[in-house]
Symmetry: C2
Subunit: 348 residues, 2 copies
């Protein structure tokens, strides 16, 4: 198996990404191709005494920046590390792709270059919220406006992912809503609730309120990308706030300072739980080949985690399952539409 890594994107690129790539090549049974500015890579490796021996290096002239527009990945910056990596993935020169770069560009590039799995209407960014019971948030920002059909696909794709990667037998799918009753929310939520209720091949447990997210309310949480993005960033912000507030409480006077020092390891434990590097990256579910979006702040360890995640993604056959489901879904939706047309009165 070969994993392609864009080593030029992300806050700690290229050094930490190169380190992560080397560690993955040495410690995991996988071949690694890194994409980026060859000269820069070799220079840094020499300076930091990193051996590139185990890596294949592919040159790319430019880098997509955080402020670049998504479509630059297939237009102005076709020669970027992200674009080159995605084309290699599409052309079979690798089995999975990892990038810590611009999410919008990665999503656009994956959709336009690697393409979606047949029958998948929208690819989603699937982020694990790192609570004691991890929750896969689908979608966490790729699609601001979605339909009940999209939501159904999110439910199935997320379910397949959590069952393959976390070994859950029947992942509990919940819908993020402003109340638990069946008729809560906007038409999107009401219609989705109706679509998913009573399905035998899906463990839909109904609506979930956001206050229950930290307490294991479900395994897959479906939502539109706007609400999902607000949810994701608020959990990050709250975790950061809590840890900084605690730190200041503990160091506010001598008495608490002493006991505070003893507690620091415990607080670090808590903080670690919300640390991106512990949880790999967010897969773009619905893309024909595994693309893992690593966190922008990824260090070497996070990149190695993301490679490990990519390996599991390939090995467990997630995309084959999604492809199978999507074909059935497409046929079902087509049949529904035909049926709906037949019911409609004919106009003369």
């Amino acid at each position: 198996m070969r994993v392609i890594i864009d080593v030029m994107s992300g806050d700690n690129a290229p050094l930490e990404l190169i380190r992560g790539a080397v560690n993955a090549a040495e410690e995991l049974s996988v071949d690694i191709t890194i994409v980026g500015d060859q000269e820069v890579i070799r220079e840094i490796a020499e300076k930091e005494e990193i051996s590139l021996e185990k890596l294949t290096i592919v040159h790319a002239d430019s880098v997509i920046l955080m402020e670049d527009k998504p479509l630059c990945v297939v237009r102005e910056k076709k020669d970027s590390s992200m674009s080159v990596g995605l084309r290699m993935l599409a052309e079979g020169e690798g089995d999975a792709f990892v990038s810590a770069g611009n999410t919008g560009a990665l999503l656009a590039g994956s959709t336009l270059v690697v393409r979606r799995i047949k029958g998948v209407q929208r690819a989603a960014i699937a982020t694990v919220l790192p609570f004691p019971t991890p929750i896969l948030l689908m979608d966490s920002g790729a699609n601001l406006v979605v339909t009940p059909e999209n939501m159904e696909q999110f439910a199935y794709m997320g379910s397949i992912y959590m069952s393959k990667i976390y070994g859950l037998e029947a992942p509990r799918v919940g819908q993020l809503n402003n109340g638990t009753e069946y008729n809560k929310g906007l038409p999107l939520q009401v219609d989705t609730y109706e679509r998913l209720t009573g399905r035998e091949d899906l463990n839909f447990i109904g609506n979930v309120e956001s206050r229950e997210i930290p307490f294991g309310a479900c395994d897959v949480l479906i939502t539109d990308g706007f609400t999902g993005n607000i949810t994701l960033k608020l959990t990050e912000g709250m975790a950061k706030f809590m840890s900084s507030t605690l730190k200041s409480l503990f160091t506010s006077n001598i008495v608490t300072k002493v006991s505070g020092l003893a507690m620091m390891n415990k607080i670090k434990e808590l903080k670690k739980q919300f640390d991106a590097s512990e949880h790999g990256g967010a897969p773009l579910l619905g893309i024909a080949k595994p693309v893992i979006k690593a966190h922008g702040s990824s260090d070497a360890k996070a990149i190695k985690s993301a490679v490990q995640q990519a390996i599991s993604f390939v090995n467990t056959g997630i995309n084959q399952e999604i492809a199978k489901f999507s074909l059935e879904f497409e046929a079902k939706v087509k049949a529904e539409k035909t049926a709906a047309q037949e019911v409609q009165p004919q106009e003369n």
Copy 2:
């Protein structure tokens, strides 16, 4: 000044609500009318040795339950404590109303019985997120779907509230969005951004990402009620999660247990910050007279806080300010529409 309290609604009704009413009457310079089942109230007061001397009691036959439909407040349960209290408020038998009951019913009842301020399109539930820099979340659940015009009114009403109650000179108004750039979000956010930019009578600071909420990103945060509700409940859930996780960390072994005990007061400080009883209730902004929604779990202290808040609401003339702004707003919107019609090509 007279504040009316619905003592039959809420998790701790009627005992804690009666206690809160008595404390308010004794400690704040305000007359209190309590509404509820006279027999039940007198029985409990006798048993608990609470003197009702300082209160005016008005009888109501029934109670609106959490599971009741909003409109029952003006239909099946017109004889409920909430309905009776709202009618008294509308008829001038009190200056403000406090209830810890069903939010949907309170909003429906306030809108239909007490009515909105002239020119206000939608009343909003204004909840203070209790961070070191408190943020007023507008709307936190009353209106799932809103227009840019509604959002503009939320911005002004929230601004007036924060300036009057928190003494801020020019409250910073931010829009909750999935990114900070002007073109982020759905059409609602893009249009609202455009409407609010460059206003001299409003301190609009642009889009705010949810991860910045705990860190004083703004003073008033405007959003649709769906996203607002998810945001509000997620901050509550995260605060609860963090405090329970910490408690379990601190008691996980003897060493941390000892230092943990020393820390407990500090943790309680942190927890107190997120405690509803410290922050009174959420005003329904845009209603012709002050209606304060106290938290469902309110105890006596929280009810007294809510009464204090109602007094400040009346004394600072918030509704007079909102009324003035709303008249101007109405005229402006009318002028905009006339102008838009004149620009449109005539059809023959």
